[in-house]
Symmetry: C2
Subunit: 239 residues, 2 copies
């Protein structure tokens, strides 16, 4: 008889013990699959086969659960090898960060409306990595922070535009003129008065096909090149 570890007195396919990790994983899965709104305590509980209140033995409250989700996402960051020129490491780090964000696009919305800093060690490691790489360029800590914020903001914003399509990419791209006007007929009474006059938006109309088709990878590399080239030039001036 093996040394009994926990609950095997009933010797059945007992459902695995609940844990913070299982809960966070379930929440992340729901968020990735169905969006942020779908993540409710009851929904997560159902997913792990338990009642909602049981979760509170493992997370302080929903905030804490979402903190866990953020940290969990950061843990997906795969650190590029650092035994290379700093600029190459920086470029790969930026790409990796973008990869992680695109894999869990809703985490951006999560950050955006919770607006609170990370406090988990593992979640802070990618930031530590970034600051370390930047410091190798010869910049001092103050400049390094600026560069970190500029590049970090760039990545976040570009990914947000990629996945969010807030500026009429995506869905709008499939609109012909009549569809565009139809979309605006929200309230029945102004559907006549407020047609979207496409002749007042000539540049958007001209850009429409490209808004949909443009290659996000190419776009990202384009912007990243501009930033890194400028930063390297400035750093070279120092060193």
């Amino acid at each position: 008889m093996p040394a009994r570890t926990r609950t095997d007195t009933a010797a059945a396919p007992i459902k695995e013990r609940l844990s913070r990790e299982r809960i966070v994983d379930a929440a992340l899965a729901i968020m990735d699959a169905e969006g942020l709104d779908a993540v409710s305590m009851r929904r997560v509980a159902r997913e792990v086969g338990v009642e909602a209140m049981s979760l509170y033995h493992h997370v302080r409250d929903k905030e804490d659960l979402l903190d866990g989700v953020c940290a969990r996402v950061m843990r997906d960051f795969r650190f590029p090898p650092e035994d290379r020129p700093w600029i190459d490491v920086a470029r790969d780090g930026a790409r990796e960060w973008r990869r992680v964000l695109r894999e869990h696009p809703n985490v951006i919305a999560l950050w955006a409306d919770r607006q609170r800093p990370m406090t988990d060690l593992e979640a802070l490691m990618p930031m530590e990595f970034a600051l370390r790489v930047i410091s190798r360029s010869g910049m001092d800590a103050r400049e390094g922070v600026q560069v970190f914020n500029v590049i970090g903001g760039f990545i976040m914003g570009v990914v947000m535009m990629e996945v969010g399509a807030m500026f009429s990419a995506g869905t709008t791209s499939t609109m012909k003129a009549p569809d565009l006007t139809a979309v605006h007929a929200k309230m029945p009474d102004d559907s006549v008065a407020q047609l979207l006059p496409l002749d007042r938006l000539p540049c958007i109309v001209e850009a429409l096909p490209h808004l949909a088709e443009c290659d996000p990878d190419e776009q990202f590399e384009f912007g990243l090149d501009l930033l890194l080239a400028g930063i390297e030039a400035r750093a070279a001036g120092r060193g």
Copy 2:
């Protein structure tokens, strides 16, 4: 007797007629003052002196109301004069966009989790403006869209970092080592096991003061300069 326009038969300080505009304005005011979560139908209704269900005579649903808030924010955009070199117009346009976003910082979170394109004419005018300015650089529509996305993403992301402080700026800056460890003591049981070991985060520790103090304006201009310089160089190659 002046021609009666509407309801003045009772000749009292009658509460002004409800309208979509009044509702949207109230919602925006609440969002700016108390955050996105505070914007509920009942709360907005109370603010305009009405019951919640009355709002539905003027907005289709909450989604529609939030669409209105987004459009309302875009209408704050003050178009810079365009009779100048395109790069100057672009720079001022970027600054103005940042100003609007900082004035209503929660709109970023709104975009981030609704992830749907704008369909309101007035809300699209700033985008039309941006594409028009960029086109003056001589780039074709395809490149113009890339530049728009890169600069737009940059602005959005940087402002998001400024207001969000998701990477331990702001609050973390005031933490000394003991405080940082205290923060992580979420669950009572792991407070001993998981102290945040600051010696594993040397670059963050070194950066801490600068994370708080760094001038966001300077930082923004720094990144914007890099992008615009690179873009101008590329555009000059074309033209």
